[in-house]
Structures are given as C-alpha cells and as structure tokens.
C-alpha cells in the first residue's frame, strides 16, 4: 500500500516539475514589432557641405580685402578733398573702383552662401522656396553684371554711374538677405516641428502597446494629451508665419513688384512661441519614455 502511495505521489510531483519545462519563458513572449523607424536623413550632400566650407573661407578672405580697400578708399578720398589735384583724383577714382569691386565680391559670395544654405533648409514650402531662389538667382546675375560695369569704369563719371546703378541693387540685396534669413530660421523650426510630431505619433502607438498597467496607461495618456495640445499650439503659430510669408512673397502684384519682405521682426514673436512649444514637447516626450 505504501509503495502504491509513493508511486502515485512521485507521479504527481514529477508531472508538476516537468510542467516547468513547457512553461514559455517570460522574455520569449513577443509583442508586435514596433521598432522606431530611422530618422530621415537630411538632404545635405557632401559636395554642398564642401562648397559651403570653401565659400565661407573665401568670404572671410574677401571681407579682409574689402576692409583693407575700404581704408585705402577713405584715405584717397580724404586726400582728394583736401588736395584737389588730378593725381589725388586719379588715386581716389582708382581706390573707389577697387572698393566697389571688393564689396561686390563680398556680397556675391555672401548671397551664394545664403543660396546654398537656403536650398538645404527643409520645412519651407516648395512654392515659396522656388520663388525666392529664382529671385536670388536673378539678383546674383544682376550683381555679376554690375561688377563687370564697375570693372570697366575708369573715370570719375563712370564711377559715379556705377554708384548710381548700385542704389536699386542695395535695396534688393537687403530685402533678399532678410527674407532668406527669416525663411531659413522658420524652415528649421518647421522641420523640427514635423520631426517632433512624427516621433510623438510613434511613441503614442508604442506606449499603448507596451503599457499594460491601466493606471499608468491612463496617466501616460493624459500626458500625451498635454503634448498634443502643446504641439497644436506650436502648429498654430507656424501656420500664422506661413500665412504671413504667403502674403508677403506670394501675395499681390504690388508686393511682388518690390520682391516681398519677410522681416525677422515680423515673424520673431510667433516663431519664438512655436520654438518654446517644441522645447516643452521634447521634454514631455522624454519624461514619458523614462517613466
């Protein structure tokens, strides 16, 4: 009888122990794949980056040359005013021609650098970007033509004509520079918003799949709602800027005739608000992931 009981008990115990063999390890339970997709690569080619480096170095050298020529121009001009001789006039015309050339070189290099940076910047509406690039190319072409005129100017009258020719170019250069800088800053923030929004959506799906504790899930969902509200506010500010850019650059014929102006002061306030909202969103997202 004892033998039968012992056999029976060992059978039961053996069954329990052997059941452990079939228990699936906890870590082996797989969840649906939700690996974060790799972040999209920036459309920056190495050749563009190299070109930018070369242009920046060229700009630095040209600026030094301009500063030297400008000092020489001031001295020559002062001597001509004081001496009123033909020699001093000749020297003043030569110095003016030289400084006009070096200034044009600086401006051409600066605008070329701006063009490459602007072209590389994502987050700008294609229509706006194309319009500004076309205008910028036209301006660079006009500057190159202007430089040729200055180079061929050899007397006082021709120099005076070159100075007069530069007047309308000056306004276009300053307007274009302001537009490009504002749009680059806006584009960077808009691109950052787009990426943050994309990451937010992926984290939201991941969080709903991962979290099984109802209380924690509810807490995280409330956090996610706050993130979405913050991002929505940033989106509103960016839309405000976009509307302003549209009105200025792609607006009526009156605006187009003067090239359209997007000043930084015009967009700085909403841009700062959108930027701060994105900053808060990134901090919130990190907090949710680490909790």
């Amino acid at each position: 009888m004892k033998k039968i009981s012992a056999i029976f008990l060992s059978l039961v115990v053996g069954t329990i122990i052997s059941s452990g063999v079939f228990v699936t390890p906890v870590s082996a339970v797989s969840s649906p794949s939700l690996s974060p997709s790799p972040s999209p690569a920036l459309p920056v080619t190495s050749s563009s980056t190299d070109q930018l480096s070369i242009l920046k170095e060229k700009y630095r050298v040209q600026l030094q040359t301009y500063q030297s020529d400008y000092q020489a121009f001031l001295v020559a001009k002062q001597q001509y005013i004081q001496l009123q001789t033909l020699t001093s006039l000749e020297e003043a015309v030569r110095a003016t021609r030289q400084v006009l050339l070096s200034r044009t070189d600086v401006l051409i290099t600066y605008l070329t650098t701006s063009r490459i940076s602007f072209d590389q910047t994502t987050g700008i509406e294609l229509v706006v970007k194309q319009k500004e690039l076309t205008d910028l190319d036209q301006l660079l072409s006009d500057l190159i033509t202007y430089r040729a005129h200055v180079e061929s100017a050899l007397n006082r009258a021709q120099i005076a004509a070159a100075v007069a020719e530069f007047m309308p170019l000056q306004q276009r250069i300053q307007t274009m520079s302001g537009n490009i800088q504002s749009l680059i800053v806006y584009g960077k923030v808009q691109s950052l918003y787009d990426k943050t929004n994309s990451v937010k959506d992926e984290i939201k799906v991941y969080m709903n799949k991962k979290e099984t504790d109802a209380l924690r899930l509810s807490q995280k969902q409330r956090g996610m709602e706050e993130i979405e509200n913050t991002l929505q506010n940033s989106h509103g500010f960016l839309q405000e800027i976009l509307l302003s850019v549209h009105q200025s650059i792609l607006g009526d014929q009156e605006h187009q005739s003067v090239g359209g102006t997007v000043s930084y002061s015009q967009i700085s306030d909403p841009l700062g608000q959108a930027y701060a909202g994105i900053s808060r969103t990134l901090n919130f997202l990190k907090e949710i992931l680490q909790s």
């Binding site: 059941s19 870590s27 005013i81 003016t96 680059i184 991962k210």
Partner: protein, 140 residues
C-alpha cells in the same frame, strides 16, 4: 467468602466488599478491548487497499491535482493565462525600442539647438552700402 477462580471478573476481583454469595451467576465477564475507530478499524487493515476509504480520498486528491496541472498546461499552450503576466515586464525588444526613441529625441534636441531663431550664421556682411566718391553721396 471465596469466589470461584474461573468466574473472577474485574469488579469481583477488585471489589472486596462482595461476598461469594453475591457472586453473579452466569454473568458475562467484562471485556477490556481497544476502542474501535471507523477509519482505522483493525478489520479494515485486513481489507484490500481498494476497499479502504483512505485510498479513495488520496486518489480523489491526486486526480484533482492532476486535473489542475493539465488545465494550466493546456491553457498556457493556447496562450490564454500566462501571457498578460509576461507582458507586464518589458521585453528586450521593448527596451531597445525605448532606447531608440530616446536616441531620436536626443537628435531632435540637437536639431533644436541648431534651430534657435535668435542665432544665425548668415549675418549680413559689415560693408558700406553707400560708397561714393562724390561727397554728397558718401555716408557710412
């Protein structure tokens, strides 16, 4: 006064107040046996094991235990019981995903620094836009 030796029950032997004349005649002697139990009856020990109640109680318990164990195994094989407990702990894949997201947020933070609207690498060159030889047109 003497009692018969073959008729000496306990009380007769111990009760010295009894006399031989008061000796009960044809009375059954008292029985001094072990108290009987329903479960551990001496007769039961002599029975085959399958007729003993203890065997059936053990068998019932064992069968119940086996039923529970096999039910658990069956349910687990269909992924119905242990799965929620397994999901509670983050798997290695989930950890990797979380690290991946944190890495992307760090990259966005770097982009965030680069996108600071108050910082620009394209300052307008410090050049005099009003250079002219004639004095009336010259201004810095």
């Amino acid at each position: 006064m003497r009692s018969k030796p073959n008729q000496e029950p306990l009380d007769i032997l111990t009760n010295q107040t009894l006399f031989s004349t008061e000796e009960p005649i044809f009375e059954e002697p008292p029985h001094f046996g072990v108290p009987q139990s329903d479960l551990l009856a001496i007769e039961d020990l002599k029975k085959p094991f399958y007729l003993r109640p203890v065997f059936w109680i053990e068998a019932l318990l064992g069968a119940s235990l086996m039923l529970i164990v096999f039910s658990l195994l069956f349910a687990q094989s269909r992924g119905q019981i242990l799965k929620p407990r397994a999901v509670k702990q983050p798997t290695q894949q989930q950890e990797q995903q979380s690290v991946g997201f944190l890495k992307r947020i760090d990259e966005l933070n770097q982009n965030f620094q680069d996108a600071d609207p108050t910082k620009s690498s394209l300052f307008f060159p410090p050049v005099d836009m009003t250079i002219a030889l004639d004095e009336q047109n010259t201004s810095k």
